[in-house]
């Protein structure tokens, strides 16, 4: 790990000031579950690390009208245990899927949404796009864990944000602050993520010196939800494919639905047509299975990861069934 300055702001404004020194060659430290590894592997070399854990305004979970606002510093464990989030089951499913108590206690919501890809080319120092003389190392190399959707450009990694599918399926907004001390903006979380065409674009709309401060969930309004993560291992492991479904059921029939897949594309992948196919249907094996088929119909698997199409399809089917408490017999 290279030397860096360490700063510990007490409020958002201080945090932004500190982040915007050094031409914004700075990094945000919250739970540290990703940043520390990035620093150790020399994948990031900020001149200053800004530890935002003391920023009180970014902590906690609060009711906001009919909805809920979650501070970016909220830990996974707090999400899991909050009565205000009990009806947003798809979020608790993600916490359960993380399984590692250490990550659940240290990891934060904001950190998850900003988590950089676990792509092994990226983590071995080849960059986000892993290009060599313009050729994709991912396309030519071992891509068993890579994207099956949205992978026709140079980016072929999968988004590592585990909460994003569930939050987007709930229609969450995200508050981005900075780079100036006074500036802040709420935007739909769905618009937060980007699939980079060039290395410098990163994985989200965050510009240097900006950070996430809050996430806002709309009222559940009686909707049900679930996240299904296909996890090879029972311990800490990255999902092979995930899906989150939020469904408005009216007498057993779907009135409205939202489905978002994770770990299948460089960004969370909303499956609008799959969700649409459920409307007016009862939730059952047939309708959920059809939604799964539709969700992956446009998949363009790489050489090694055709199996992920099956996993994504299954994740969608099971997320839909699970949201309606109808999932049986899965490992």
């Amino acid at each position: 790990m290279r030397p860096f300055e360490y700063a510990r702001p007490q409020n958002e404004s201080e945090a932004l000031d500190l982040l915007n020194d050094h031409d914004a060659n700075t990094a945000v430290l919250a739970g540290g579950t990703d940043l520390i590894a990035l620093l150790q592997e020399d994948l990031q070399a900020p001149q200053r690390v800004v530890d935002i854990k003391q920023v009180e305004s970014m902590q906690g979970i609060a009711a906001d009208g009919d909805g809920v606002v979650i501070g970016a510093l909220t830990t996974l464990e707090e999400i899991s245990e909050s009565p205000l989030l009990a009806d947003y089951r798809s979020l608790g499913d993600v916490v359960d899927g993380v399984r590692a108590i250490q990550i659940q206690q240290m990891g934060t919501l904001g950190g998850d949404l900003c988590h950089l890809p676990n792509c092994w080319f990226y983590r071995n120092g080849y960059g986000l796009l892993a290009l060599e003389n313009g050729d994709s190392l991912v396309a030519a190399g071992d891509n068993r864990y890579h994207a099956i959707l949205g992978n026709q450009g140079p980016a072929k990694f999968v988004s590592a944000a585990r909460f994003a599918p569930a939050l987007i399926a709930w229609g969450a907004d995200v508050r981005v602050i900075g780079p100036d001390a006074g500036s802040s903006e709420w935007l739909p979380l769905e618009h937060f993520f980007v699939t980079p065409k060039v290395e410098s674009q990163g994985v989200s709309v965050l510009k240097p010196g900006q950070l996430i401060s809050h996430v806002r969930l709309p009222a559940t309004a009686g909707r049900v939800s679930s996240t299904y993560e296909v996890l090879q291992m029972e311990g800490l492991d990255w999902p092979l494919a995930t899906a989150a479904a939020t469904i408005d059921l009216d007498g057993g029939v779907v009135r409205e639905a939202s489905i978002v897949m994770g770990h299948v594309a460089p960004m969370p992948w909303a499956a609008h047509e799959a969700a649409q196919s459920l409307i007016g249907q009862p939730v059952d094996e047939v309708s959920a299975g059809r939604a799964g088929e539709i969700a992956v119909a446009q998949a363009t698997p790489l050489r090694d990861n055709a199996y992920k199409v099956q996993l994504a399809k299954t994740a969608v089917k099971r997320a839909v069934l699970s949201a309606a408490d109808m999932l049986e017999g899965a490992l």
């Binding site: 790990m1 290279r2 030397p3 020399d42 399984r99 676990n118 092994w120 080319f121 983590r123 071995n124 120092g125 080849y126 190392l137 030519a140 190399g141 071992d142 068993r144 864990y145 296909v230 996890l231 090879q232 291992m233 029972e234 311990g235 800490l236 492991d237 990255w238 092979l240 090694d304 990861n305 055709a306 199996y307 099956q310 996993l311 299954t314 017999g329 899965a330 490992l331």
Partner: protein, 713 residues
Amino acid sequence: MAERKVAWKKRTDNTLIGGDHQRIDGVEKASGHAKYAADINTAGTLFARLLTFKGGAAVVKSIDTADAEKTPGVRAVHVFNGAGKEVRWDGTIVAAVAADTPEQAEDGVRAIKVAYEAKPHWVDEEDLPGATTGKRTKPLGDNKKGDVAAALKAAKHVHKGYYGITTISHMCLETHGSHCEWDGDDKLNVHLSTQNVSGTGGQFAGPLGIDASNVSITCNYIGGGFGSKFAADEWGVACAQLSKKAGKPVRLMLDRATELKIGGTRPSGFAEVTIAADAEGNITVWDSHHWGTSGIAGSTISLGQLPYCFDGIPNRNRKATGISTNTGPNRAWRAPPHPQLCAVTDTVIDDLAAKMGANSYDIFMKNLDKTPKPDVYAEEMKIGAKLIDWKAKWHAHGKGGGKSVKRGLGMALHRWGGRAGATTCTVKVHPDGAVETFLGSQDLGTGTRTVIAITLAETFGLGINDVKVNLGNNSYPKANPSGGSITVGGVSGPHRRAGLEALWKIYDLVAAKYKVKADSLSAKGGKILSAGKSVCTWKQACGLLGPMPLEVQGQGPKNDGLTSQGVAGVQMADVSVDIETGIVRINELVAVQDCGLIIDELTARSQVYGGLIMGIAYALSEERVMDNRTGRFINADLENYKLPRIGDIGKLMVHMYQPDSEYERGVVGLGEPPVISTGAAISNAVANATGVRVPVQPLTPQRVLEALKGGQA
């Protein structure tokens, strides 16, 4: 006086041997007081960091360490591979830097300028046609027995299939490395993470130009070896050189990625096999061609041991081809290369059973006459079947029930040698009754200290904690390296012999003093008894020695029945397979294992549990992933090199098979056997659940789904 004979006690006379005993160093380890090489931090110790090659193959064109040497805090730089040297696999060490702090050492590493000229690489271990085209293969022999062609014609059932098991890497919790400290110019003290305390001193002395007698090797505790830590290694010698250059002690442990890349691998094996049987299910034919890699040397699993355990199959063709890959070299990996041999034998037999529509258990049982220990296997199979409830749970292959989750049963069997290794010990009985022993062996975490203490305590009629075991230093009498399941036999025989010799001397003194017959004496409960009546205490007896301690040397192995070799072993698995995700979960795993006379059943069972867990790892998730494009070991980390956690283990049931006939054999090693057949048993259970063979282990979701899609039976 009756002849004094070296032997173990009658089984029923033991008070300690055969019982469940906690490790005598358990508290030290669990409380963090035990010091490993990675913990040694004498005053002024420098930290070392490594510059490694990141690619498939290259030649070092130039290397410039000038800036590194000027980096603040850096005390010494050592170049492993200078200009002109070939680096032939990812992770090859190019240089090391020692500095006051780890961060300064990293700064130093970054300041080294290296230029490489890339060379072509080949890292694919499974692609035989590709490797052949690329001229990376070499024949490793073939041989024949009987008449395969004629037997195939006569056979009633013939099955042909593809099988395999990938390379895995050593993953010791404590990585390879040492702490080196010079005492003057020519005396070196090394704390080495090693399985070979007595044999590594010379490996330091030679390259360093000092006398072997001037190298002290210490290893009181080690965080895993599994066959990968027998040598000083180039990085061990480099640690000493850095220390000399810096004039300060240096600790150099491999980082995790480098550990995975160069700490040693288990070679892969992929095989095309034809097997055939007569109408009754007697296997008559084995015909195989297998290939794989051990790294640049281009070996694979041994030709001579296929079909594994079933040497008696009358007609056999076998052929092996090695693939030279630009990958880190192999080292012995627990039971080399039996897990791979089992993985490409017992799966084939299971598929033959499936093809016959037979119960796999029956086909294995029917063919035990072709194995080295048919009677033991048969008994162990019966015990295993009862434990896992084979009869009630069995169903035909592919009839695993459930819509998306199928359940299945599988079994496999194994063998191992486990002879006693050559060991010498010096046992001291002090006039105050204290007992201690010295030997240049090592306790790999397997309970060696505990077994020694039990052996002497049983012999002297003392408690386990009355014996002090001094091992882990090369100034003590020489002991074999601990590898190949030879240590428990290696240390228990000499200690029993030395213990008896000492005891007999003490008996003679007691007999003279108390006017009793020496051959009427026994030692029990801290007392010397004559015909069951107390004569004196152990301390009083030892007081008769005079002012000097009694010192007896014990040696082994000897042909006196204390130790033996050769074990069987059967494992059975009950698994669930989610056919929509390809995920496999272990429900139950049964191991029935013999190993002769068991000194401490608790540590014996622990060995088996550990073997099963390692087996689950390589069966389901653990593998080295080499990226063809970059030549890199792309998952050399603890996230993507997937090892099971507690939730992945399922229910483990261990039964130590120990009828009197086993006790009478004496002590046989146990470390290797329990890891061997786990993979094949799990693979067979998956095949039973789904009706489809997933040909290559580990059985990842990717491989399971691809096999299901192909419907490969």
